[in-house]
Symmetry: C2
Amino acid sequence: MQAEIITIGDEILIGQIVDTNSAFIATELNKIGVEVQQITSISDQAEQIISSLEEARKRSEIVIITGGLGPTNDDITKHTLTAYFKDELIKHPKIERHIEELFEKHIQTPISNLNRQQALLPSKAIALHNAYGTAPGMWIEENNTVFISLPGVPYEMKALLQKEVLPKITDRFNRPFILHKTVLTYGLGESAIAQKIESWEKNLPSFIKLAYLPNVGKVRLRLSARGPEEEVLQQELEKQIKDLHTYIGDIIKGYEEEASIEEQIGNKLTTLQQSIATAESCTGGRLAAKFSAIPGSSNYFRGGFVTYATQSKTQILGISPEFIKKHSVVSAAITKKMAERAKTILNTDFAIATTGNAGPTKGDSDAEIGTVYIAIATPLETKEYAFNFGQPREKVTQKAVNKSLELLYDILIK
Amino acid sequence: MQAEIITIGDEILIGQIVDTNSAFIATELNKIGVEVQQITSISDQAEQIISSLEEARKRSEIVIITGGLGPTNDDITKHTLTAYFKDELIKHPKIERHIEELFEKHIQTPISNLNRQQALLPSKAIALHNAYGTAPGMWIEENNTVFISLPGVPYEMKALLQKEVLPKITDRFNRPFILHKTVLTYGLGESAIAQKIESWEKNLPSFIKLAYLPNVGKVRLRLSARGPEEEVLQQELEKQIKDLHTYIGDIIKGYEEEASIEEQIGNKLTTLQQSIATAESCTGGRLAAKFSAIPGSSNYFRGGFVTYATQSKTQILGISPEFIKKHSVVSAAITKKMAERAKTILNTDFAIATTGNAGPTKGDSDAEIGTVYIAIATPLETKEYAFNFGQPREKVTQKAVNKSLELLYDILIK
């Protein structure tokens, strides 16, 4: 069971947008045992679209196409597919009514002829309902290959894929099982891990593949198992991961497929009926955004402070200018105070604070670029940590966020 | 001048990571007049790598490959390239010293043999210096096609591309000019815009292409001009954009290539020597993160509050529980108070506040899912705005962030 993804849009090829759709589609297909063997991004040109379809159908039974279904002149996917399958467009009155309803509810401007034309589909296509947008999806089968065309707008595509496409693929094809289990490790580099687990890695069975996914401050180890019997794969993965713990148990902080590190922290706080606050300088709201992105997090994430400018540490957190002057604004003493003040103001059990100099220039402190201090206030004490995350700016803030979550995990869960 | 990008890594094909590298590379190549005509993502398998190289060299003179250069067993790009070019590996002592230095400075673990092997490169390759990592880049030329292999870690790849690859491409190839100008519009849908600018669009010269890039709450209009004379392209783009203003001047909020909307807001505040604060509920720190991501933003972004949980609106911002109960936590009155309190506490000229219900459940309020209130406190008054951004959660928070920036832009710049 092989699939390919073709994303259509000049905006991808000139780098104006990042193609996030492919990753989402690939993840969902993997879950139902469909392997993606190539992702191809091409421009809005009929010739390129047709030659990519021709190549893809030689290799794969499922071809998912995204993009180019909008109402404007630069969107040509629907017309190209109609020509490619030597078909003609027919109107779907149900879809037209859906478009009218969307305009009435959420769009302030009057419905146009361009929008009404979105209710036209090739006669060979099965229409797929797009709950959140005006462009319907299409399912076209020809000579044992299924071509699925979806809009490029991410939230429209996601809903269509999950509600319309995946159930149809599951019905239509027999699939093997593909299981992934990704071990989250924090604090050690990939080559150091590779050395520690060398003998374990060598003895993995042939149906399990190992991949190292290094990131700033964390390395994910992905085990991928493929085979006809789900039970067998599951048991072998569990056995191998149990073994892996004897080699690097100290740096393992959970499994990606189960819950992200911030979700695990949230679950633990929920169980403990405890709460947390943030006070961020160099991470500028990113930690708060991580917590608040989880539905229901208001049960334990009480709130946060972004004290990016020096004076805001005084105005918001009440840290005296003298204290800041004495210790310097990027210092362990300041992060400690930030965490403690956030904890007191919001009356939480825990608080986490970051300060640092992410560069490119030194700003309000003498601290070397890359310097980051993290402090965690717990019900018992406040711990401070010092790091140098190097350069550039982007890496420093990312590492600071990842390290903060790692430290919090260690305190709460380990 | 055609280029292609091949990104290698199973993690892309199973959807575990989003390929952000291609967008960055494509943007940079466009700037120097090199057009990307295909982006292909394939797995870490020698066969697939070789067949993609074969296909790409038929179409393009520049093939940029990312990924698979790590020290672990799952990384096979270097060995595959060595075999493909019938070459052998030789050691570069300078690179080995660089690896040693990186370990001494930033990595706490001892250097391993695996890391030392990263100093081995095919003899036909020109080594490209990787300032931030241990895997060097490679430049291999054969029969008028240049193959460039770069590591997959984004910040390593970016530095290598900008400092090593682009200057070499500029030296090696004659290139035409490609200019993009992207008009940022906020507040109107793509089909409504298309209708308004229909006659303008029809009369665009053939060397200028128009694309609509819809997003939640904003539509970008990209004009792409290609030709041998930069001056001519530049003048025509300017003329066309001036014309465009007569059609939709009211919804244009700047140009993407010049500065993002948050940078423009920052520049304006800097010029006015005025400051801003944030108080976020449903956007949970995302607005603060937008501001603080800009180097130097501490000059005008004084700080922010993340009052995601209801009680934090009392604890942090001092809004009385009675007031919250009277108006309901998701209401115009609450956002107004949030903005005003943030402005007072941080003693700023402006403050922006968001509250809403992003779903999936109703939480602490009766407000319909998708409801968002935004308030902006200015030196003169506080304005409130009410919206319903529909569903799902992701779309609601994104729209809330974009709408906040749009409203702020209108007040500050229009």
